[in-house]
């Protein structure tokens, strides 16, 4: 439904004295979002997420590359054809962007007015939309009288008014509290489910990706560095940045006192501190006790967590392995042979 090929966007800024300065906001981005799926793009601020999503409906015109939405090459459309194509692409924003001088009904009616629809046609379309987002009783209120979550619901109804095939969500829940976020995400999931609308969303929140996305891409410094199923991304991110996002999300970092004592190189009386990630069968296997028996190392668990991500279970643990260097090395090999991801965080002196 959405296909970006080699999309690049470069901004040129004229700095006095230093000449023209080029900023590469997007570098050869390739992204395919199949019909009916929810695809998330996650990244830090300034990574190029906003530019990426704006290239889909050409709010930003790519410097090079091709943007195909619903079989149409967007970059080659005339202005009039582009506006018609945009009627098929809804968009919602972090700050809602509702018109303050229009009430809820008229805000939702705006895209239909722009398409030149008749007043009675508009009425027949707007009322069910307001019912769908649960705001039928607020039709005559103004945005200033609504809460953030209600405003986003109005914005969603507005984005759906022209019966789009694609919905672009630009940090749609970033300005909302956690409870409101989950209710908006639920609404988006329902829309995807009931109407079959393809959703592309950008976010910096793993929670958003975890709860509604099917696939996720990771963007860093203008490049899409990772593209995987959400289950894979949460159990085995392939990049360092992916792991950082995951650790932040799971809040699994070693205690500060330990981090201070951690050294990169093994020393005389040191033990490795490892982060273990396990999913699937490994979760239900009593690996730690086997480790003690088969490799004769003791395991001191510093932190542990089990999360369920969609239909998968993910276990995480930070542990210190106590034993001779040979024994601990053997233990790590043993763990890896059981499909665990082992990451050595450092080595710590044992004060005993």
């Amino acid at each position: 439904m959405i296909e970006l090929s080699n999309v690049s966007k470069t901004y040129f800024s004229n700095n006095k004295g230093s000449g023209t300065h080029a900023v590469h906001a997007l570098k050869n981005a390739n992204l395919t979002v199949p019909k009916g799926t929810i695809h998330g793009v996650i990244g830090l601020s300034g990574a190029g997420k906003s530019t990426l999503i704006r290239c889909v409906n050409l709010l930003e015109r790519p410097t090079s590359g091709s943007v195909i939405v619903d079989g149409q090459e967007m970059t080659r459309l005339s202005n009039a054809a582009l506006n018609r194509a945009r009627h098929r692409i809804g968009m919602i924003f972090q700050h809602f962007n509702l018109l303050t001088t229009r009430n809820v009904f008229d805000n939702v009616a705006l895209p239909l007015e722009l398409m030149g629809q008749k007043r009675n046609v508009i009425r027949e379309r707007v009322i069910p939309l307001l019912e769908m987002v649960g705001l039928a009783d607020k039709a005559n209120q103004y945005p200033a009288q609504l809460s953030g979550g209600q405003k986003q619901r109005v914005a969603i109804a507005r984005a759906l008014a022209s019966k789009p095939q694609v919905l672009l969500c630009d940090e749609a829940t970033s300005a909302l509290d956690p409870q409101t976020t989950s209710s908006i995400l639920e609404l988006l999931r329902d829309i995807n489910h009931q109407l079959g609308i393809t959703i592309l969303l950008i976010t910096h929140e793993m929670e958003v990706v975890k709860s509604i996305c099917h696939r996720v891409s990771l963007i860093s410094d203008g490049e899409l560095v990772e593209d995987s199923e959400v289950g894979d991304f949460f159990t085995a991110p392939r990049t360092q940045l992916g792991r950082e996002f995951l650790n932040d999300f799971l809040q699994l970092t070693p205690p500060k006192e330990l981090l201070e004592r951690l050294s990169d190189m093994p020393g005389v009386d040191t033990h490795p501190v490892v982060r273990l990630t396990f999913s699937g069968d490994a979760v239900s296997t009593p690996l730690i006790s086997r480790l003690a028996r088969e490799c004769s190392v003791d395991v001191s668990i510093l932190q542990a967590k089990v999360e369920s991500i969609q239909d998968r279970t993910l276990g995480l643990m930070i542990a210190e392995l106590l034993g001779t260097p040979d024994q601990t090395q053997q233990a790590m090999t043993y763990l890896e042979s059981h499909q665990l991801q082992v990451e050595v965080l450092g080595h710590v002196q044992r004060n005993v």
Binding site: N57, L59, N79, L82, N83, R84, A85, R86, H87, I89, G90, M91, F93, H95, N97, L99, T100, T101, R102, L110, P111, E113, L114, M115, Y142, P143, A144, R158, S162, L168
Partner: protein, 217 residues
Amino acid sequence: MSSAMFDLILQATLDTLYMVAVSGVISTLVGLPLGVLLYVTRPRQILAKPVLNQALSIITNIGRSIPFIILMVAIIPFTRMLVGTSIGINAASVPLTIAAIPFVARLVEGALNELSPGLIEAAQAMGATPWQIICKVLIPEARGGIMTGLTITVVTLVSYSAMAGAVGGGGLGDLGIRYGYNRFNPTIMLITVVILVVMVQGFQSLGDYLVRKSDRK
């Protein structure tokens, strides 16, 4: 106060209102589109035309920098061509209008500048044409700010119209100078000033009311 004096004051009040009304309406009709044009032709705006924008901006600045009293005499030939005479309230309305147009334009531009760029982006994402963005988003959303600007303009026109006496235009300022100052009649002077104060208060209150009514924030 004699009834002749009363008639004089009434006539002067009506003259002032007439000049303010004519110049206010025409300068809004021209200044509003000019202000919108100044905004939408900016670089990276919906109808970006940097050269045109620069040209309009310079012309607007020139219009705003000429002192009103000089503008009034300088355009006498133009005024005569337009209304057939260079004296009277119709003649005075011409420089008032000319002076108010760039004033309105800049205030409208400023009001539009206050809007969140996200509104334009949202409208573009909906497939709105630039014309639709102007009519359905920019002007309605900025109408509170535009109304504030027009109130300032009308109040300014009331005080500018007092200078119209210099080209033989009528009005309260003219009356105050001729009867109050030149003929040493402090009562007349005081009355004209009081009427002007009341007039300004009235316009300001009306403007505030309209702003409140149009603002939904």
